[in-house]
């Protein structure tokens, strides 16, 4: 690179391990992927953000006043973290799940009894889902009481509300998948509410269920919604949400 990156090279008195590591991180392949050295200078710290797609949602520098826990309670970050946990556990669970009755229920039993760590993953997925509904809602309250929705962040608030709705829908569609009594009747009650919409309620319900009552069609519909459609939607909206957070002035800072 250039003369500024002094720390690419090990000092002569460094140990073997350090020299090997330095050799590795100094190699062209490594530097084609990570465009900064060991984080020692502010330049490296800045480059970590600039040159890293995952960290680039943050600015290089943030206000110190926004850092304390009580400012944001980390609620937005936790919601994202929960979404990541849910994605990982969800993909793993899909490996042992067949969206058909009564196989779906039997798969739950098999996860519990014969799949290594199956019940742990299912627990993680379910409790994370419940927790995510709570954190997203609390995040909204925090933003409201901080007044952080005011111009120029109006639209990001709207995106946030849409994310809340999507989170609820994700949780709701996932509720049916174990195909047990709890799932079946919770979804029956839930979709009956949709049926109360004037004029088109029954049609909405019919389309949602893929029939007049909850059955195999409903299961596969909810499965596709839960695993493909809604996650895609939520990822797109999240991207917009985070991008706007940066564009509209960065981390929580009451105007």
């Amino acid at each position: 690179m250039n003369d500024l990156s002094t720390n690419w090279n090990a000092t002569p008195q460094a140990g073997v391990g350090r020299r090997l590591l330095t050799r590795l991180t100094g190699s062209g392949v490594w530097r084609s992927v990570f465009r900064h050295g060991w984080i020692r200078t502010n330049r490296d710290r800045a480059l970590t953000i600039y040159s890293n797609v995952f960290l680039h949602i943050h600015p290089v520098k943030v206000r110190k006043s926004a850092l304390p826990f009580r400012v944001t309670f980390c609620l937005g970050g936790l919601s994202l973290a929960l979404f990541i946990v849910l994605t990982v556990t969800g993909i793993l669970l899909m490996l042992y799940y067949h969206p058909s009755a009564p196989r779906a229920y039997e798969d739950m039993k098999d996860l519990e009894f014969v799949v290594s760590s199956g019940v742990f993953l299912r627990n993680l997925h379910r409790w994370s889902a419940h927790l995510m509904v709570i954190t997203v809602f609390l995040h909204m309250l925090r933003v409201f009481f901080a007044g952080a929705y005011r111009p120029p962040r109006e639209f990001n608030w709207v995106v946030g509300v849409m994310l809340l709705v999507l989170t609820l829908l994700l949780s709701f569609t996932g509720y049916l998948l174990p195909w047990d009594q709890l799932a079946y009747w919770a979804i029956t009650v839930g979709t009956n509410m949709a049926g109360a919409v004037p004029w088109v309620g029954d049609e909405i319900r019919f389309l949602l269920l893929g029939g007049n009552t909850i059955g195999e069609n409903t299961l596969i519909r909810f499965y596709v919604l839960h695993c493909v459609v809604l996650p895609l939607g939520i990822v797109v909206l999240m991207a917009v949400h985070f991008w706007r957070v940066r564009k509209d002035g960065g981390l929580a800072r009451p105007l």
Binding site: R40, N42, L92, L95, D110, V114, V115, S116, S117
Partner: protein
């Protein structure tokens, strides 16, 4: 003021800070690494099914009297030919050794033929023509206690193996 602030955050200006910070960083990163590698192990265990829902490999194919001497009888559902020669019984896999198509027994030609790429085998599985690289697999056939023939499609045996009844 700017320099003071920056100086505070630059490790190179605080030797004690560096060691303690490095120590904690090491523990944190180590624990993260351990979590990742442990997670990989658990993940691999999760991927490996502990029970299988697969049909049994042993199939009953009737009694010896069902087979005339010198005959080839096809059992399409289990992809096996049961061949009876004057020497005894043997079982042939119906799966072509070329690319795994299911072969057919042609009664007129007295050949086992593969519909995909034209491989031909004789009634003891030897390649007569076509791209098949080796003879058809011979499978384990045995006589159960109740006098019925049993083929185990999971066990490949020597082509010389013959069950005498």
């Amino acid at each position: 003021m700017k320099n003071e602030v920056l100086a505070k955050f630059d490790d190179r200006n605080d030797p004690h800070g560096i060691t303690r910070r490095r120590f904690f960083m090491g523990i944190g990163a180590g624990a993260l690494g351990a979590t990742a590698s442990g997670g990989t192990v658990v993940f691999m265990q999760y991927l490996e099914p502990n029970v299988l829902f697969e049909p049994p490999t042993k199939h009953v194919v009737g009694v010896p009297e069902d087979y005339p001497i010198t005959s080839v009888v096809s059992h399409p559902s289990i992809r096996v030919y049961v061949v009876r020669t004057p020497r005894g019984f043997f079982a042939l896999s119906a799966i072509c050794t070329h690319l795994g198509c299911i072969t057919r027994w042609n009664e007129q030609a007295g050949q086992i033929q593969c519909p995909c790429h034209g491989s031909r085998f004789d009634s003891s599985g030897r390649v007569l023509a076509g791209p098949a690289p080796r003879p058809l697999d011979h499978l384990l056939i045995s006589l159960a206690d109740d006098g019925r023939l049993v083929v185990d499609v999971a066990v490949v045996v020597d082509p010389e193996y013959v069950l005498r009844v």
